[in-house]
Amino acid sequence: MMSKAWLTVLAAVVLLPVFVRHAIATEIWIFAIFGLGLNLLLGYTGLLSFGQATFFGSAGYVAGYLLKHSAVNVLLVLAIGVVVGAVTAAAVGYLCVQRAGLYFIMLTFALNQMFYFTAYQWTTVTGGEDGMPGIPRPNVLGVDIHPPLAYYALVAALFLLSLWVMKRLVESPLGKILQAIRENEPRAEALGYDVARLKLAAFVIGGAFSGLAGVLYAMLFGIVPLESIGFVFSGNVVFATLIGGSGSLYGPVIGSFVFIWLSESVSAMWARWPLLLGVAFVIVVLFFRGGVVEAWGRFWAWRAARRPATVQTDAPR
């Protein structure tokens, strides 16, 4: 039995390329995978990571290098991307979870900057400021994924897989424990949970999702741009997730849609589009802390509250 949410997501996956340029549609689901990983930290564990691009970019560079210089199977490259994301997240996370609150956030940011400057300096491999261009898109199991729609299908399938995996995770004991850590860390510890290790687990899982997204992104544009490992990218995914709603599984998916669609369509018409995004962000923070998901819920609650009144005024007629 499929839930309404899943049917909506499936419909969106099928219909999106009809209405939106294929490259943008593809980017939306890639960014959604990225957001799912972040939200395990932000929404479920209560950890604000400002360094998710570290894992996204690292995986992108490694995968790009492999695709360019060897004839590795694409599926293997995707798996390697996931592992690179998880391993870098394990290293970064190990340092970050030692501290809480603001210090945690600053550590994720500082380490992100370290990775950024490494990529910036290491021009022989990463291409520095010019990025790593010329990344091929070899066949997957004999299927040519060069046509934009074919690549879209691959990304959409991986997105659905990611969403399903994340749904299982947050409904598992681990998902509940992470929420307990978010709610009350000392109590979770007193109950017998090794808080630092569980936070690290969340970090590693989030990193794995970022890694997958990073590889798909590199293959989408045929280049790993330097920005993909930069802090602006880290900020964007936080931004998108908050706009969508960090309190729910589907929040980052909706946020990714809003963010990418706005940035790709409005930016073509108006160069100052980040201003619009800023306004959207302020509105979310001031009025809809739960993002689009909460706004949507409140809208329907408001409609439901109005309906009985309409019925009453209709009655005398």
Binding site: R168, L169, E171, S172, P173, L174, G175, K176, I177, Q179, A180, E183, N184, P186, R187, A188, E189, A190, L191, G192, Y193, D194, V195, A201, I205
Partner: protein, 250 residues
């Protein structure tokens, strides 16, 4: 045989010695109360037992092994559970999840940790439900914990400790901030637990302590100044001077 024994347990914060060379034995199955004025070091003593704080000196022997300085999450797995003086729950999670989390932590295996659905552990659901039934919250299981009254949150606090299936139950002022009616109810709950668990109870309400404790230790400025049965404590002159404020023996 004592289930837990402290030997010269000391905790100093700089110049302040909050717990000073406390030597204390709690017999298996007993209800042992710790009383004393505010700031006597009772809660600090609990924090040492549960690993929230590491002692400056001394030993804590639980079931034959020294556990001083063990981190809290490991202490919990030995079977020491506590309730907090200031309500410490998971506010946005449901009441059922609050107790479920305590039960899962003590589950013998964490199989399916990241994959099995959390509601597919029938024995844990049962244990959680039993703990809620024990404190009278079974019919509110689905509500978020932040939505129930303070009195009910105190009951939940106790249920969380019980769901951990503890061998040693540390109750830090379970009736803190309760109305007289609610206090009565809480006292009834603790009385029901007596004999089934080994309990260390911190409590301010002297009448409650005197009526249900097997033994009482009196703390004052970090030290235990007296220990004995309720009757012995009531007769003790030093205790009356330090704490009971001249309550006449009956």
């Amino acid at each position: 045989m004592p289930l837990v024994r402290t030997e010269g347990l000391t905790k100093a914060f700089g110049a302040l010695t909050a717990v000073n060379a406390v030597t204390l034995e709690v017999q298996e199955g007993a209800l042992h109360s710790v009383i004393g004025p505010n700031g006597a070091g009772k809660t600090t003593f609990f924090n040492l037992l549960t690993g929230q704080l590491a002692p400056t000196a001394g030993r804590i022997v639980f079931d034959g092994r020294d556990i001083a300085g063990t981190p809290p999450h490991k202490i919990a797995h030995l079977g020491i559970a506590r309730s907090f003086q200031r309500t410490s729950i998971f506010p946005t999670l449901s009441i059922a999840d609050n107790v479920w989390l305590a039960a899962f932590a003590r589950h013998d295996s964490w199989r399916g940790l990241a994959w099995r659905r959390a509601d597919r552990y029938p024995e844990l659901l049962e244990r959680a439900q039993a703990a809620l039934g024990e404190v009278g919250l079974a019919d509110k299981a689905g509500q978020p914990a932040r939505e129930i009254s303070h009195g009910e949150q105190r009951q939940l606090e106790l249920a969380i400790a019980l769901a951990a299936a503890p061998r040693l139950l540390l109750l830090d002022e379970p009736a803190a901030g309760l109305s007289p009616d609610e206090t009565q109810k809480m006292v009834g709950l603790v009385r029901k637990l007596k004999g089934r668990y080994t309990i260390v109870l911190i409590e301010h309400k002297i009448g409650v302590v005197m009526s249900m404790s097997d033994r009482i230790s009196v703390m004052h400025f970090g030290s235990v100044i007296a220990e004995g049965t309720p009757a012995e404590i009531q007769r003790d002159a030093e205790v009356r001077r330090a704490y009971l404020g001249g309550i006449a023996p009956p």
